[in-house]
Symmetry: C2
Subunit: 397 residues, 2 copies
């Protein structure tokens, strides 16, 4: 069955293996015509890998490119159907909720309007801190997820890093229940960040009500301040998507939670290949946290990263075996931010030869000027025209 | 905040701890009036524990019982609101798909009709083998989940135990795509069970088409037959919900999958408390399987078990570290079926004192006759009347 896939994986190897090739080819087959970005989100493979696969398939004349997206050639379609036995046209998502586990009914329109207004005024992202802003829908979905799971009512909650302004969604959640009685649903909310612009922005956004919200400027690479130790019921994190970043933030979160079974961590994290996710899973398991839910594509961010603009959310619960792996007094000196390692990459599409070209500081071609100077690496054309397909922040994947 | 909860947990301890008490009280608060079974599904706590909590709260006059379900007393409501700071009335699920990740659109009506007709004729469940029949919707949802994730087209798939008749849903999936061209979407499907009645039933149900489906009578506690070793792309299991059952079926599945990164196991399993789920997670992690998705409440079964009638589904993917923990040639002699340990339990509700009484071979009162003889253990009434609330198969939780 998979001789063709084994063959191309041998000639043009990708880290995702033959299943990476298969899933990309399958989703183009089911969609008929699909953009690079939609394809990346569907198969959860980083855009650079997708573009490598698509380029190779265009070379083999299996796939073709038009400005609207990627599609099969007629021969390519016949060949792939007989080789890989693809079938059907996919299944549709729910028309009302698009398959998202949190349903945002019209009841929440006023909260969304409020958030949209506030989110527009967020400061500019600081990519050296791996900041990426979640959409208003995502921040509201998180607040509703926490509410539904009982993580808000009367609880002491901490946002350990909140460039997503999730605290703002939590603070205005009452508007969807009893809008005439402003109330903070948690007993206390503490917003922590390394970036004072965010703390000030959040404070300003929610100050129309005098809620029990505290703000703390803290770089969690330094030791945990005494007054934050073992006091929270719930902690939400969306850490740098590096192993160091995960290990450190989980350790900090564990030591800030009350020492009791049943405390919760809501962890947003990039999608990873199975081999890489196993490592993440080991880190979580070693710290004795039970993974109660894993929901792919829960979060959507403005702009795009190398892994598309969606991430998963995990619901972790403390057990009798929960223990941090980095001491609360330890000053962590290793790198955690991926932005320190890899800046923005751009993807241009050569309209002449239908190939995708990667441009960036870590790529072979550093700038668009250089591309125009040396020409397309595939067809040598210096005029292209070259069309910008996507701009992504590199998270190591 | 939680003095009340700590106090009742001290006086009437439950394994789920104070968060168990809190979640039960919260969901009754949000619902207003709720049945024992719905409450159990909402909080994912076994019915016997729920009934223990509710009984105790009725004693404290916090809760009350009416035949339609459980609700707060007026004083109880005020007390709990001020103690636990509950807020709001919950959030609603999507009206169209009820929040299930697989949307069954009208396109699938003909498949569902077909399955309903076939499922009615399934043989009687054999509880000594921990059989429990999934609904037609669940079997179809599983088939669609596999299709969506690319686990069917051209793949070699194995149902390792199929009392749920998921193979039948897969075999008739073409009816939702191209009904006039009968086609088995996988390249090959192998249905394995220890119960020949099921194999015969499935064979009869799908024999109108001559598909590439093989049937194999095999007790997976015995060594893996040579012809099943390392040949599958995808294996679906819904094993006995014991640690032994999980360890054995996962080991068998791993040794039956091709030795390649990216092979998949779809595992249905009972909901577990975080402390117990951590053990499950350790078993999966030790075998080097990446957990890509955990979806609570994916499966619904006919009848009810002690944990309600829903289970979660996990999508596991093989990595370079995947290795079974029980050898393929080893004859497994320990107990795996929970039915071997614990038979059916019934729950009666004493209309006189509003308490739930557990009756069964492993309970203090063995039969309803005995209950009527000795009277309600709470109010001593011999007449009750006693109303059957639920009948459950005991899975150790």
């Amino acid at each position: 069955m998979a001789n063709f896939l084994n063959d191309i994986q041998f000639k043009n190897p990708i880290r995702e293996g033959i299943e990476g090739y298969r899933s990309v080819l399958r989703e183009i087959y089911r969609a008929g015509l699909i953009s690079l970005k939609d394809l990346s989100q569907k198969v959860l493979i980083p855009i650079p890998v997708i573009s490598k696969i698509v380029n190779y398939m265009v070379e083999l004349k299996v796939l073709d490119r038009i400005p609207a997206g990627i599609l099969y050639t007629e021969n390519g379609m016949q060949f792939i159907e007989s080789e890989l036995k693809f079938y059907g046209f996919g299944i549709s998502k729910c028309e009302l909720c698009n398959g998202h586990p949190i349903f945002i009914s019209p009841r929440w329109d006023n909260v969304l309007d409020k958030l949209d207004e506030i989110f527009e005024k967020r400061p500019k992202v600081d990519t050296t801190l791996d900041q990426a802003f979640a959409t208003a829908e995502t921040s509201l979905s998180r607040a509703l997820l926490l509410y539904d799971r009982g993580a808000l009512d009367g609880k002491k909650i901490c946002l350990l890093g909140d460039d997503d302004y999730s605290s703002v969604a939590i603070a205005f959640l009452y508007l969807g229940f009893f809008p005439e009685n402003p109330k903070l649903i948690p007993e206390e909310m503490v917003v922590i960040d390394i970036d004072n612009r965010l703390l000030e922005g959040i404070k300003k956004a929610v100050n129309e009500n005098s809620f029990n919200i505290k703000y703390k400027l803290w770089d969690y690479r330094t030791k945990i301040p005494e007054d934050l130790l073992n006091i929270f019921d719930i902690i939400m994190i969306d850490p740098p998507y590096s192993e160091n970043g995960l290990r450190l933030t989980l350790s900090r979160a564990i030591d800030m939670l009350r020492i009791e079974i049943g405390r919760e961590i809501y962890l947003s994290f990039a999608h990873r290949s199975p081999v890489k996710f196993l490592k993440i899973q080991e880190i979580i398991t070693e710290m004795g946290l039970a993974i109660m839910e894993i929901t792919p594509r829960f979060n959507t961010y403005e702009g795009a990263t190398i892994l598309g603009n969606q991430t998963q959310i995990l619901r972790l619960i403390t057990t009798s075996d929960t223990k941090s792996s980095i001491s609360s007094t330890f000053k962590f000196e290793e790198q955690i931010y991926t932005g320190e390692l890899s800046p923005t990459t751009r993807f241009y599409y050569c309209l002449k030869c239908n190939k995708t070209i990667e441009i960036g500081e870590t790529s072979q071609i550093k700038t668009i000027e250089k591309l125009k100077e040396i020409g397309c690496p595939y067809c040598k054309s210096k005029e292209g025209p070259f069309q910008l397909e996507g701009k992504v922040k590199n998270n190591p994947s």
